[in-house]
């Protein structure tokens, strides 16, 4: 297990290197530069700024300089937050995205699985249709519609919850963003759970369990739920990575200082170092989460562990 983990981690290094090379080339290929503006700068000033950020050097040299920094854990200064380094910015915003993401995924997992189980057990009843109908709506309505509606109802009209991150210092500022983030995930997980559980419930070993006289509750709890969770789990890995690294839309709407907002701002401003930093961080996170999911797979399904 330890050797496997180590091998996987070492195997991630070439992947990350490739990500850095590609990302570096892509951001530099985008038209425009980090300091372009409608108020164009006189040539001398432009030269001074380029020199201060080494943007006047040839691209390969810039790449080596950047790579050297990354190896030492230094992602360089941000161009669009001139008083902060990229590492500081990621260090500040990741905890925010992490906190939102974890809460949203927890809410999504618990609610989604419960709804999915209920729907699977009451297959083709009115209850099933209602749950799946709601789930379908949840998937279909984009978050940029749901979130402002929630704000209008709960923050503007009823004034129960803050409309934004900076509208309150208490934990209540988490509620609307977490719900907005979780809704589509709940819908997705509920559908996955339902489909997977129905399939498992019709397999031979469940029939055996029934023949032995076990009740439905016990069958679901002890025999069906675990295998039914496998597709859900493999969906959760990338979903957690996506949610943890910040939902651009939710962060913009609620003014949350998370990674997603940082990334968008970096891209729009051609903040090369900031974009690269977030991309590398994101890539590393996905590698790590995939590994965790694979390890959990082994923990849940003994057949995989034995291979």
């Amino acid at each position: 297990m330890l050797r496997y983990t180590l091998r996987r981690l070492l195997g991630a290094i070439p992947t990350l290197f490739l990500v850095i090379v590609l990302a570096f080339l892509l951001v530099h290929a985008a038209p425009g530069g980090p300091f372009d503006d409608e108020r164009a700068l006189p040539a001398e000033i432009e030269a001074n700024i380029a020199a201060a950020y080494h943007l006047d050097e040839p691209l390969p040299l810039q790449f080596l300089r950047y790579l050297g920094g990354v190896v030492r854990g230094d992602f360089g200064p941000s161009y669009s937050y001139r008083d902060y380094t990229v590492s500081e910015l990621i260090g500040r915003s990741f905890p925010v995205s992490l906190q939102l993401g974890v809460l949203a995924m927890l809410l999504a997992a618990v609610t989604g699985v419960s709804l999915g189980v209920v729907a699977a057990l009451r297959q083709n009843t009115a209850l099933d249709k209602i749950v799946m109908g709601v789930a379908m709506t949840g998937i279909s309505i984009p978050v940029f519609v749901i979130a402002p509606l929630l704000v209008l109802l709960l923050a503007v009209q009823l004034q129960w919850l803050p409309a934004s991150w900076t509208g309150s210092d208490s934990g209540s500022r988490l509620l609307l963003p977490v719900i907005s983030l979780a809704l589509p995930q709940i819908a997705y997980i509920a559908r996955l759970t339902r489909a997977s559980l129905i399939e498992v419930l019709s397999s031979d070993f469940i029939r055996t369990a029934r023949a032995q006289g076990l009740g439905t509750a016990a069958i679901v709890r002890y025999h069906a739920l675990k295998p039914a969770m496998l597709p859900v789990l493999s969906y959760m890995g990338p979903a957690v990575a996506a949610v943890l690294t910040g939902s651009v839309v939710v962060e913009e709407i609620f003014g949350i200082p998370g990674l997603g907002q940082l990334f968008v701002r970096g891209s729009l401003n051609r903040d090369y170092t900031l974009v690269l930093g977030v991309v590398i961080f994101y890539a590393a996170l996905i590698v790590l989460l995939n590994l965790i999911v694979d390890l959990l797979y082994g923990a849940i399904d003994p057949r995989i562990r034995r291979r």
Partner: protein, 548 residues
């Protein structure tokens, strides 16, 4: 089963960790403020300031915050009139080339240190020092040796700004600069506390280390969310400050901003969403503030490429065919004024020159435009085909569509409209290889016609059309030599007349500032600069609602 239990233990501990993080992240931001103690003034910023280092910052948002925490030699009243700031008084020599400023005895940094002339010298040298890489380094261009220092030919120590004694600052100029006082209100000219830069280096402009000489001090900065200011009790005019605590919320979405205002989280918005403007005008009549501002929205021609190079008549035809009244009434609709000049109205010591056809009726204009169009060699059978590029934004698109329709209807010209991302457009405008006509805007850096006219000089970097006319350059150069404001004004007006006659740009409308201001905010005055210092505002009795 065990594994499932293990999984739930992991999940629960993650949840716990997440909640703990919440506790940590709110710790730094002065969470007492929103509930107990005097209420904070909550203002919105449309974008995150890129820096609160006075010399390194660039955006109007950074300048807004910096005007609260710093102060220049000269400053503005709530109505936008120039008044002494950290300087108590000044004298200009008769030749207009030397200004002597006398600093206030009681000017203090937020740690109690006196603000000295040397702090101003340090700040201004820092501005022109190539190592600082300041965006506004060229603003001081008329100060002795400034341009040479920016170019790296002289040392920052050679700048024509000298501390004659602790409280006397002498600024020497290469040319008369009647707008110097207006320049010295700009945050890039603010003083810097030498000790804190020596101690913290480039990282001095952060909470905990940034010392300020204005009405407020930087208490906290959560990038992407909020900037928190506390009253600076050492400020020389602290007795006049009413509000103790100011929070700038970063709100990039106009609709989200409006919702936050409605939810009571903001006292002042940075703008008003265009989609809901009519409704807002009806529902929030007493809270809505719309005022003219020093900014022009224009279409520029690429004067280096066909079909517009060397073709002023064709340019004039396209300019005349646009009915600006329709644009401002039907599309922008927020009180913008149609533009028939390059310099906006409301600039000090200046009366903008009008395009010759400004007074003509719609039919008369169209008739002239059509004859010019034919004279340029185009007709129904041989229509002009060109491309208009603009950056992706709803309003820009609507205006482009309207202009396209007007050109087709009046002239029969076929414009293709192309939207690209802002940075891509900037790149293309600069390269001048694919652009034929483009959308842009210009906002005055200081309240003077020169701030608009200077960018169209042949050697100006911001001259995107690549306009070049020796007569224009000469007029502006002559204007720069005048000490007498009335004479200078004549040169500037003549220059604008030349620029407009050449039709290098199509000015479309002049921007307005738009704010929603809660009734409990006192002291708000609309002004063309759109500067609203927190120190001039007050908070009345807050109606019942306090946020959780």
């Amino acid at each position: 089963m065990k594994k499932i239990r293990l999984l739930s233990v992991i999940l629960v501990s993650l949840a716990g960790a997440a909640l703990t993080l919440n506790g940590c992240s709110k710790g730094g931001s002065g969470d007492d403020s929103s509930r107990s103690g005097p209420p904070a003034l909550n203002r919105a910023l449309a974008a995150e300031p890129e820096s609160l280092d006075p010399q390194k910052s660039r955006s109007t948002q950074a300048a807004d915050v910096l005007r609260d925490i710093g102060e220049g030699l000269v400053t503005y009243t709530a109505a936008g009139e120039l008044v002494p700031g950290t300087a108590a008084s000044w004298e200009m020599a008769d030749d207009g080339l030397t200004y002597t400023f006398r600093l206030r005895e009681d000017a203090r940094w937020s740690n109690g240190d006196p603000v000295t002339a040397a702090d101003f010298v340090f700040g201004l040298q820092r501005l022109v020092d190539p190592a600082t890489a300041a965006f506004y380094a060229a603003e001081l261009g008329n100060v002795v040796n400034a341009a040479a220092i920016v170019a790296g030919d002289k040392e920052p120590g050679e700048l024509g700004v000298v501390a004659a004694d602790e409280r006397t600052l002498v600024v020497s100029l290469e040319r008369p600069t009647p707008y110097l006082l207006s320049l010295l209100t700009h945050p890039s000219t603010f003083p810097v506390h030498r000790g804190s830069v020596a101690q913290h280096g480039d990282a001095f402009a952060r909470p905990g280390t940034l010392l300020s000489n204005g009405a407020y001090a930087l208490a906290d900065w959560e990038p992407g969310a909020m900037i928190d200011l506390q009253r600076n009790t050492h400020y020389w005019n602290d007795a006049e400050t009413s509000i103790d605590h100011v929070r700038y919320h970063v709100v990039t979405q106009e609709l989200a901003e409006f919702n936050r205002y409605r939810a009571g989280e903001l006292h002042v918005t940075s703008t008003v969403p265009p989609e809901n403007f009519e409704q807002i005008r009806a529902d929030y009549a007493s809270e809505l503030h719309v005022a003219p501002t020093l900014g022009v929205y224009y279409y520029g021609f690429n004067l280096t490429r066909p079909p517009f190079a060397d073709n002023p008549e064709l340019r004039q035809a396209l300019s005349m065919a646009i009915d600006r009244k329709i644009l401002v009434e039907r599309i922008t609709g927020r009180g913008e004024a149609p533009a028939y000049s390059w310099v906006p109205p409301g600039v000090d010591n200046y009366e903008p020159v009008q395009l010759p056809y400004a007074g003509l009726s719609r039919q008369e204009r169209n008739a002239i435009a059509q004859s010019l169009y034919r004279k340029a060699g185009y007709s129904k059978n041989k229509p002009l085909r060109f491309e208009l590029r603009y950056n992706t934004l709803d309003t820009h698109q609507k205006i482009a569509l309207a202009a396209q329709a007007m050109w087709r209807e009046v002239l029969g010209a076929e414009a293709t409209i192309v939207n690209v991302e802002f940075q891509v457009l900037l790149d293309q405008m600069r390269e001048r290889e694919v652009t034929q006509m483009f959308r842009s805007s210009w906002f005055g850096d200081y309240n003077d016609a020169n701030s608009f006219l200077a960018i169209m000089q042949s050697d100006s970097a911001a001259n995107i059309p690549a306009y070049s006319n020796a007569e224009y350059d000469e007029l502006l150069r002559s204007a720069g030599e005048q000490v007498d404001l009335a004479r200078r004004r004549l040169y500037l007006e003549e220059a604008e007349r030349v620029l407009l006659a050449d039709h290098a740009v199509i000015p479309l409308y002049f921007y307005v500032s738009k704010h929603l201001v809660k009734p409990e905010v006192g002291g708000w005055q609309d002004n063309t600069l759109n500067y609203h210092y927190s120190q001039h505002l007050s908070l009345g009795a807050v109606e019942g609602d306090t946020r959780p």
